[in-house]
Subunit: 202 residues, 2 copies
């Protein structure tokens, strides 16, 4: 950026502030959001985890269902354990047989995990529900997307629901309030042979 | 996705697993990463926060310096407070005068915040350092990017450093190990008049 004079800087900052104030003044609605984190980049689950942490910090009740093993793991578990009355964590992904290739069993596991999500979403005592890596399961047709969309549309007005995973189905993006795509720009795994590390990947 | 037979599914899953195993086997390096979250979308700070939480959960020591007020806030603060021996949180952004337009003072505040980051990065007892919204300060030329790059390059080998904020400077992207761009697909603020809410935005 070219050097600016003090006056130009002050002028620019005043304009930014005025634009920001005007924008904020028009935003008055408070409602639960359907939030989708998708794309091939990193940070989909991690950003959802950040929201869970914020919600906990505000005294909210949060439900977390993990559809894929390892996407959420030991690191966050230790922190969740510090707030047992506010967070219900269901790591259902352990049951999947990505390794053993049993499609019928995977569908049953997906169903069981989705039933937990559905229960949490439809129970207004949850302020936030995270369906971590649900998109992956939908991508493999382990659950009917129509049923998922129906439940998401039926969520209580103030409940925030977060759905993560690459390849978010169009039908879910369609009804979402906030969709963020994480795009990979540089990645040490592929480019440098670096392995997954505690605190970063899990 | 078209319906697949059981055999096709099993075949596909086996291939995926083999590819994954092969990929993991080549990744043997463990090292501290320079991680950048940039782009205009949501989730840059939130994903960094998720990593901080994971690191805490693994018993790591983490330093967090916040360059912009409000980017990290009350929600995460309550969670950080539960782990006082592992996290050092410095919310320096309060001092900025985006509202009062005092450039000289903003530069002084940026310097003070950067000095904290520098101290944490160069102290090998920190496993992870988050410079939240540092990119914003660099964008306004409040700090010389050359100096920042020099310190980032001098970080201890095992320390993870996370830099967030839109408009990451090329010089920082250049030396980063992992760069993720968060892209806005849909946003309820602009499209629906929804205001910032506890647990989602702060």
């Amino acid at each position: 950026m070219a050097e600016r004079t003090e006056e130009q800087h002050t002028e620019k900052m005043k304009k930014l502030q005025a634009a920001h104030d005007k924008m904020v003044a028009t935003k008055t609605i408070e409602k639960g959001l359907l939030i989708v984190h998708t794309g091939k980049g990193k940070g989909k689950t991690t950003a959802a985890l950040g929201m869970v942490v914020r919600a906990i910090g505000h005294g909210k009740k949060v439900g977390v269902v993990q559809f894929v093993k390892g996407a959420m793991a030991t690191g966050e578990k230790a922190v969740f354990d510090a707030f047992p009355n506010q967070i219900e964590f269901k790591p259902m992904g352990e049951g999947f047989t990505w390794d053993t290739q049993d499609r019928a069993r995977d569908i049953a596991v997906a169903r069981e995990a989705w039933d937990e999500v559905k229960r949490m979403i439809l129970d207004p005592s949850y302020d936030m529900v995270l369906a971590d890596e649900l998109n992956i399961v939908l991508r493999y047709d382990y659950l009917p997307v129509d049923e998922v969309v129906e439940v998401l549309k039926a969520k209580p007005e103030m409940t925030h629901v977060i759905v993560t995973g690459r390849n978010a189905p169009d039908a879910v993006v369609e009804i979402a309030d906030l969709v963020t795509e994480m795009t990979l720009v540089k990645h040490p795994f592929r480019e440098q042979g670096v392995k997954a590390q505690a605190g970063v990947e899990f």
